[in-house]
């Protein structure tokens, strides 16, 4: 059991978000989507739906058990754990700002609900990370996501070292970059499906980091028809490096010093499919080519979406990032649709105009640096 109150969980998460916003040096600029507005829409949906999803998760499995189940290589959409709380808390913030907070006292009667979300999430995150903290600290010193047990670390490191140094770094970098771009594009220009974790220290002073590309056969986003799936659902790349500093942000972005870590790789393996079987460089290159071809097809469709759908699609996208939690809790795809996907879609239909109108208010408040970032949780 945790000794943190719901407010303390929120404070810890808020501190990580502030650090994330300070440290993050690159901003994704885009001409395809209005990201600030679609993010606001996804968060409105999350505020309405995620408390019910939390109740469903709690009914099925304890938070601690769900956290333990997450400790596995190649977990689908692993960044979704931080995404879950981010979406909910920012959605709640949007509602409070709309009601006049922080300039006046506001209570939307959601205290118990917010406490339940924060408390359950804390239990999952604590068991998932197993190091006492809830999120990566975002800097070189504390930006760690160690979410594998020792047996998995040793197994992945051994596989990477057995394969050895990268034979054709150019091919590997291109193929992985194509799959990262695939993930970016199909998730509406957001990095869902791209996740890295570690660093795991090895006996000889080397480090293991694990690069994961998942959600390559997405079942829920309406534009991701089966012919747009790659031939494997996930690719996991354990990488052993020597004399490289590695750190991560809360969403699993890998940072290294030196930035080009390839010359320092002593072992790298490519695992794919449900069973994470080794694949050849030719197969990796083939996956990169598949990803390239699908991007052309998806881009053509997305570029022709009308202005309303270019925002509204965020509803199913923001639902999607949360589906692995329900899946891990034992829900079927039909149950996931009913509990998560369809309610998000309905909320998206309801809030799309509101998101357009309210987008500026949220981002102005965030940019103001006012504290606290989120309304208090009193329960």
């Amino acid at each position: 059991m945790s000794d943190r109150s719901a407010q303390q969980v929120q404070d810890e998460f808020e501190a990580a978000i502030r650090q994330f916003m300070t440290e993050r040096s690159t901003v994704i600029e885009t001409t395809l989507f209005d990201l600030p507005t679609k993010i606001v829409l996804g968060q409105y949906c999350g505020y309405d739906v995620l408390p019910k999803v939390t109740a469903e998760l709690e009914r099925r499995v304890s938070a601690e058990e769900l956290g333990r189940r997450r400790r596995t290589p190649g977990l689908t959409l692993a960044l979704g754990l931080c995404g879950f709380l981010w979406i909910y808390l920012f959605g709640r913030l949007q509602r409070y700002l709309e009601a006049g907070w922080p300039d006046k006292e506001v209570d939307l009667g959601d205290q118990d609900e917010a406490a339940a979300v924060l408390t359950y999430w804390e239990g999952v995150a604590r068991a998932y990370r197993a190091d006492g903290s809830l999120v990566a600290g975002q800097t070189r010193d504390d930006g760690v996501i160690r979410c594998l047990d020792d047996d998995d670390v040793q197994r992945l490191a051994s596989a990477a070292l057995a394969r050895g140094r990268v034979e054709d770094a150019g091919l590997v970098r291109r193929a992985l970059a194509q799959m990262e771009l695939y993930c970016f594009l199909i998730h509406g220009e957001q990095r869902d499906g791209i996740f890295n974790h570690g660093p795991y220290s090895l006996e000889d002073g080397s480090l293991l980091v694990v690069k994961e590309l998942t959600d390559l056969q997405n079942p829920f986003m309406t534009w991701m028809t089966p012919e747009r799936h790659l031939s494997v659902p996930r690719v996991v790349v354990p990488i052993v490096v020597k004399d490289v500093e590695c750190w991560f942000d809360m969403f699993g972005t890998l940072y290294t010093e030196p930035e080009d870590y390839f010359p320092f790789v002593t072992g790298m393996e490519f695992l794919a499919g449900e069973e994470l079987e080794p694949i050849s460089l030719e197969q990796l290159e083939g996956l990169g080519q598949e990803a390239h071809e699908v991007q052309k097809d998806v881009f053509r469709e997305m570029a022709r979406w009308d202005e309303r759908y270019k925002i509204q699609h965020a509803a199913v996208q923001y639902a999607n990032v949360n589906y692995p939690l329900l899946e891990l809790a034992g829900a079927t795809q039909d149950e996931i649709r009913k509990v998560l996907i369809e309610p998000f879609e309905a909320a998206g239909e309801q809030y799309v105009e509101k998101a357009r109108d309210d987008s500026g208010r949220l981002w102005e408040y965030v940019a103001s640096g006012r504290e606290p970032l989120f309304p208090e949780v009193k329960a």
């Binding site: 600029e29 395809l32 150019g170 970098r173 970016f184 594009l185």
Partner: protein
């Protein structure tokens, strides 16, 4: 400066993200998704994209078909610079252009970060 018999005129410079040899190609300016759609299936072999945002997702379906990128914004850590290195594509970010009318023109990108117009210089 001359290259392949063409007169060359400097039109700006920025931060190059590669080392090695220069690249010559034909510039197509990308400012909107419709520009990308135009290039899909109809990209010249030596396509150099001129863009003004350092996010790279707009170019997503073109990576693999691009020879080089000139970007008027961004830094070494920008998404477009990172992806250019992954794809082994010459890229110049934060480029200050003295002549921004480059669409359709043949240019040379130098690893020093300089951009030269080759035709009609």
């Amino acid at each position: 400066v001359s290259g392949d018999g063409d007169e060359a005129r400097s039109v700006g410079s920025g931060l190059a993200t590669w080392s090695g040899s220069f690249l010559e190609g034909v510039v197509r300016e990308v400012t909107a998704p419709s520009d990308v759609l135009d290039l899909l299936g109809d990209a010249p072999k030596d396509l150099i994209v001129l863009m003004h945002t350092a996010g790279a997702t707009t170019l997503s379906p073109l990576f693999g078909d691009i020879a080089g990128i000139v970007c008027t914004t961004g830094t070494e850590g920008s998404h477009v610079a990172i992806l250019s290195r992954d794809f082994g594509i010459p890229c110049i970010v934060g480029t200050e252009l003295t002549d921004a009318d480059l669409d359709g023109r043949r240019v040379r990108m130098e690893p020093s970060g300089q951009v030269f117009v080759l035709d009609g210089a």
